[in-house]
Symmetry: C2
Subunit: 433 residues, 2 copies
């Protein structure tokens, strides 16, 4: 089959390279790739499909680098509680009852929300990952999937969980036309004994895939690590060999200068989850310092029960706002940097080198925002408007791998109405079970 070729004209495209931020003109897509972007009208075959991009702002799809999407089934089930009460009385008892079916519907609900809100790639760390992979494949979305393993269990259960994580990672890596890649994930230093974490490092080497884990999310966790192992989590994971692998850690809220330097030296990426960290009162990550040290920082929503939505525009805005407010420096995390956190750096954090920017040769993962609205006026600075004024619901169209997934705000690949009703039913059944 020949590669389908089509063109966008009259578009405004966010390129964010060096001094150039916008290109007004044309973008050509062939199959799953962007093959041209520029002001000059390209030479095109007769009868080629043309999309008029007037009043649309085209930008790379957003990249959500940390989450547990099936937890959308618990959105609003427990809020404004102390962390341990929230976990022990609310989340864990309900999650313990989750079936594969629940994960399927919870993930579907989240995937619909993410796609319609302009997120084209997400990382998911959870259980029943085959279901998450199925939803990803059906939806047309791009994903980095990983079975998150809690190792506080007997050795035989540890082994079967690790085997399951390895089998999932092997079976699904590169599937769905390459849209799915995998990682290997011990849940956290405080939920996995050191020797168990070392087995994940070995699996990461054997499978030649990156590692992902939670790290230094709360102050208590850091203190406990020192008590249990004599070192803080960063040094602990470094000693276990985790940072010898390509690695993305989630949160990294409580880091000292030395730890930031260790992350930078080892090329460890950090998924900053500002909404979740604020809501759970975990603290405020030292993002300006991480970026200054050369650490790749990206953005994650975390699970929808601790956020409570999957709006990546909101995460970009929070990242741009809170570090100014807390540091007292209004130049901290300017709009363009917040934009990169949600796009380019997100792709880099997930070790995906063909998404995250609009450029020739990149995968055609992109979105279009309706800019013919009051909050996008005047037309001063579209990067500023995206970061400080836009929201998920400004997204009009979404393409992944060159295929349109969302058109005029509706998801073309998923049965939204059925998903809403099944997600609600799943929650009611969980309550009753």
């Amino acid at each position: 089959m020949p590669q389908q070729k089509w063109v966008i004209k009259n578009g405004t495209f966010v390129v964010l390279q060096d001094e150039k931020t916008l290109v007004k003109g044309y973008m050509v897509i062939e199959g799953d790739q962007i093959t041209y972007i520029g002001e000059e009208e390209p030479q095109l075959e007769e009868g080629i499909e043309v999309l008029d991009g007037n009043n649309l702002l085209f930008m790379p799809g957003l990249v959500n680098t940390h989450g547990h999407t099936a937890m959308s089934l618990l959105r609003g089930y427990g809020d404004d509680l102390a962390l341990q009460v929230w976990l022990e009385d609310k989340m864990w008892p309900m999650e313990g009852k989750f079936t594969a079916q629940d994960v399927y519907w919870g993930t579907s609900l989240s995937v619909v929300e993410m796609l319609k809100g302009g997120t084209t790639t997400f990382l998911d760390m959870y259980d029943h990952m085959d279901q998450v992979a199925n939803v990803t494949e059906q939806s047309g979305m791009r994903a980095v999937l990983t079975r998150g393993v809690i190792g506080l269990c007997p050795p035989d259960v540890q082994k079967s969980k690790l085997d399951e994580a390895v089998a999932f990672a092997r079976d699904w890596h590169g599937k769905a036309d390459g849209r799915i890649t995998t990682m290997i994930s011990p849940h956290a230093p405080y939920t996995c004994p050191p020797d168990f974490i070392e087995k994940f490092v070995q699996a990461s080497i054997d499978l030649n895939i990156p590692m992902h884990t939670h790290m230094s999310e709360t102050r208590a966790e850091v203190e406990q690590n020192v008590k249990d192992y004599g070192v803080r989590p960063v040094e602990h994971l470094r000693k276990l060999g985790v940072f010898s692998r390509p690695c993305l850690v989630a949160h990294g809220v409580h880091l000292n200068d030395e730890e930031i330097q260790i992350l930078a030296d080892h090329g460890v990426a950090v998924s900053h989850n500002p909404g979740s960290n604020l809501k759970l009162a975990s603290g405020i990550a030292r993002v300006p310092e991480l970026l200054k040290a050369g650490v790749t920082v990206s953005l994650g929503t975390d699970g929808p029960a601790s956020n409570n939505n999957l709006d990546m525009f909101e995460e970009m805005r929070l990242a741009a706002l809170i570090h100014k407010g807390v540091s007292g420096d209004p130049t901290a995390i300017p709009a363009a940097e917040a934009f990169r956190l949600g796009t380019e750096y997100g792709a880099r954090s997930l070790f995906l080198d063909q998404v995250g920017t609009l450029a020739e040769g990149m995968k055609a993962d992109f979105i279009a925002l309706n800019t013919d609205q009051a909050h996008f006026l005047p037309r001063t600075d579209f990067i500023s408007h995206v970061i400080y004024s836009a929201s998920a619901k400004d997204v009009e169209h979404v393409w992944v791998d060159g295929k349109q997934i969302v058109k005029n705000g509706s998801c073309l690949t998923m049965d939204e109405e059925k998903i809403r009703s099944e997600a609600q039913r799943s929650f009611e059944q969980l309550l009753a079970r």
Copy 2:
């Protein structure tokens, strides 16, 4: 003319009184008032107009208690700059060129954004206030309007500005079917000499209207006040008699315990502007402490150039999130309290006793959100969903004084397309002038 009477059935209504948060059932509106709200079907005349509220969440319209709406013309014109650079190089030179016409279009742009986003009442402090009043009257919105006066000028100019502020307040108070009320506003302690502020206190007494002013927004401003007058701004304004009047201050970021107590003792309300305070790196107001002391706190967007949108859902969410993250207490500002900040306490801050809640006898200022969307599921806790998951664009319908102003996301009272194009043109002309 008889009062038009109509009813909503199958609705979910946010009442937030004592333990009760939702009523499922009916709401009857007669003219500009809510006359019934309850589960029981009311006895109604034949042929009465009925709205089916299925899949809609009805809540009080949001109340934005501090802003300079015409500054939407400068949205994105300068961001991520140090405060003085932003003011001196960007805002002031442009604002100096604002004509009455510019204020008309800038305010119109903001009013459209606010109405469509579920804000039914706003406070505006600016110049050319007749224009703001005209827009308010035409739009059907409710507003508290006040000419903000900067007193760094010769006595004769001071006098003419004060006269203008007084004339505006007198002429427009109670106009537009009572939807417009007025206040009297010295801009700030650092922009008005003490004797000039005292004249505003006298005007407030003479006109029998409340006072509004900026106060303690930045640390530098507090330090300057001590240098100039020997006391911090709270004590300064107290001594000048400002707090002997009904009074709303904007920001109140830098307050010590003693100052919080003075505000509580004098019944001074505080408009908390979290988005603006973060973006301008002013700091983080001590909202949990203010509320604990019994101070009425409400929410404002501030001007759209320092926010950069007018989404009050975002301000409620920021208020709920940042104080948790900064204090380390996940129970700080729970969802219901954030909801009250944006509604009930907003009305109280503006000395409006008939709006801010849904109840019999209250003005029919209310909005309807479309809850048949992924991010409102499952149906666990609608207050949580409003605070932690919703955005301006979930608003489907808006009524003010019983009249529908927004229907299916479109503004019925304003020519949106014309406003967008005139606002853009105004900005371009400002640049060229």
